[in-house]
């Protein structure tokens, strides 16, 4: 069985209600190890909710999420250690510098040689120049990049990214896509975005979430041909 056939994340019948709205309704989804899943859909279709549920930040109203066979909401620290998540919020403390933020999270993730890991990650993401600045003084884009550094610092197997491209300039967008494509190619990545053209080359599969809780998973080529047909119509 290749790495692409091993079920890693299994969402069984998950629903999430924010009364009176239903963000997700009886969603079933299997994600295999090494898969790069692009999650697309209009605003309010439940993309962020899905990322937050898989990351263990919020509980589904119904259903379960298993990672490597373990329920994420009963997961051990080891299972949590295998996940890196970046939501709309970069999870940074404003009055700590970029480096202090990374050291803090690095310690909690039990990274043995934090300083060299930070140096390595900062070089990879080209954020050395912002490490000594307080997070509060950083631009939205740089906060986002620092938040991404925090996400991948502990070398997680699963990377959950909720609109990582928002607020990034064109150069940063290219850098981020290159990092994801080259350096993190062996990871399982779930990524939501409205910028499908930017993310499509990264994807090995696409999950389309509709406003009426229709969900379809398809290969990128099929999705691209559907988009072409829509444009021609």
């Amino acid at each position: 069985m290749s790495k692409f056939e091993t079920p890693l994340i299994e969402c069984s019948n998950i629903s999430k209600f924010y009364a009176p709205e239903r963000a997700l309704d009886h969603l079933n989804l299997t994600i295999t190890a090494g898969e790069h899943l692009l999650i697309v859909g209009p605003n309010g279709s439940g993309k962020s909710t899905l990322i937050n549920i898989i990351g263990g930040l919020i509980r589904p109203t119904k259903g379960t999420v298993h990672i490597n066979g373990v329920n994420i909401h009963k997961a051990s620290p080891e299972t949590r250690n295998s996940i890196g998540i970046q939501t709309h919020n970069p999870f940074l403390y404003d009055d700590l510098t970029g480096k202090e933020n990374l050291i803090f999270f690095g310690k909690l993730f039990g990274i043995p040689d934090i300083q060299s890991k930070i140096a390595e990650t900062a070089s990879l993401l080209k954020i050395n120049h912002i490490l000594d600045r307080r997070a509060a003084s950083l631009s939205h884009g740089n906060r986002k990049r620092l938040g991404f550094a925090r996400t991948i610092l502990h070398n997680p197997d699963i990377i959950l990214l909720d609109e990582p491209d928002s607020g990034l300039d064109s150069d940063s967008l290219i850098d981020l896509r290159e990092t994801l494509a080259k350096e993190l190619d062996n990871k399982t990545i779930l990524l939501t975005t409205h910028n499908v053209n930017w993310a499509l080359p990264l994807a090995t599969s696409i999950l389309v979430l509709g406003n009426h809780n229709q969900t379809i998973k398809m290969p990128p080529a099929e999705y691209a041909s559907l988009q072409d047909t829509k444009q021609k119509l």
Partner: protein
């Protein structure tokens, strides 16, 4: 075990570092507490009969107000900008998160009390700087910080958290505050003797019970 203690200290030391850097909490709370002490000292007649009762009550009321402001501020650190989610994503047991936050609350309160008690001793002219008063203070502050941390976590995800926190916090700490006031009065009375250590035992037991219960309940409190 070492990892667990390291996680607790990492969370606490981050709060302490943030406070040392910004001084947003301690300076304002110390000003409020000093103002309260001076006003009550000048306004309340200080007769020999009621001196110990009045001073102990005023001091513990100041500590209660300071405690509320400390846990409120420490709540805001986690809510704005990142909420407890920033800690939940880490592979850290929930009770370690709780103990880390409770420890930083305890340290902030003890730092404020280190200023409050000498000042009160001068203003009320009572012998507050003794070992027994110190043990009473640490014991009661532990319980207050523990309860405050739990209720801060319970209110952080509610829309009306500024209302929820005092509504939950003040009624919950009344038993420990009353016990602390009474024990402090007894400690100030020179004729009370060694029975004071029984009172302190009760206070410490109450605080440890609150801390243990809160650590267990915290796991449920920070879940959505």
């Amino acid at each position: 075990m070492k990892t667990y203690l390291t996680q607790i200290w990492t969370i606490s030391s981050k709060d302490i570092r943030l406070e040392i850097r910004t001084r947003q909490m301690t300076v304002s709370i110390i000003v409020i507490v000093i103002a309260l002490l001076i006003v009550t000292n000048l306004a309340i007649p200080n007769s020999a009969d009621t001196m110990f009762a009045t001073s102990a009550t005023v001091i513990w009321l100041c500590i209660l107000i300071a405690s509320f402001l400390v846990v409120m501020r420490n709540l805001v650190i986690e809510y704005d900008p990142i909420g407890f989610h920033g800690l939940i994503i880490c592979p850290v047991p929930r009770d370690a998160i709780y103990l880390g936050k409770a420890l930083s609350n305890l340290i902030f309160l003890l730092a404020i009390e280190a200023i409050l008690f000498p000042l009160s001793s001068i203003l009320f002219n009572i012998p507050l700087l003794t070992l027994t008063v110190a043990v009473i203070t640490v014991s009661a502050t532990l319980g207050i910080a523990a309860a405050g941390t739990l209720f801060a976590a319970m209110s952080v995800n509610t829309k009306a958290r500024e209302i929820m926190l005092p509504v939950l916090f003040f009624p919950a700490v009344i038993p420990i505050a009353l016990t602390a006031i009474e024990t402090t009065q007894h400690a100030l009375q020179t004729n009370y003797g060694s029975a004071i250590w029984q009172d302190i035992g009760v206070l410490l037991t109450l605080s440890i019970a609150i801390t243990t219960t809160s650590a267990i309940l915290f796991t449920f409190a920070i879940d959505e």
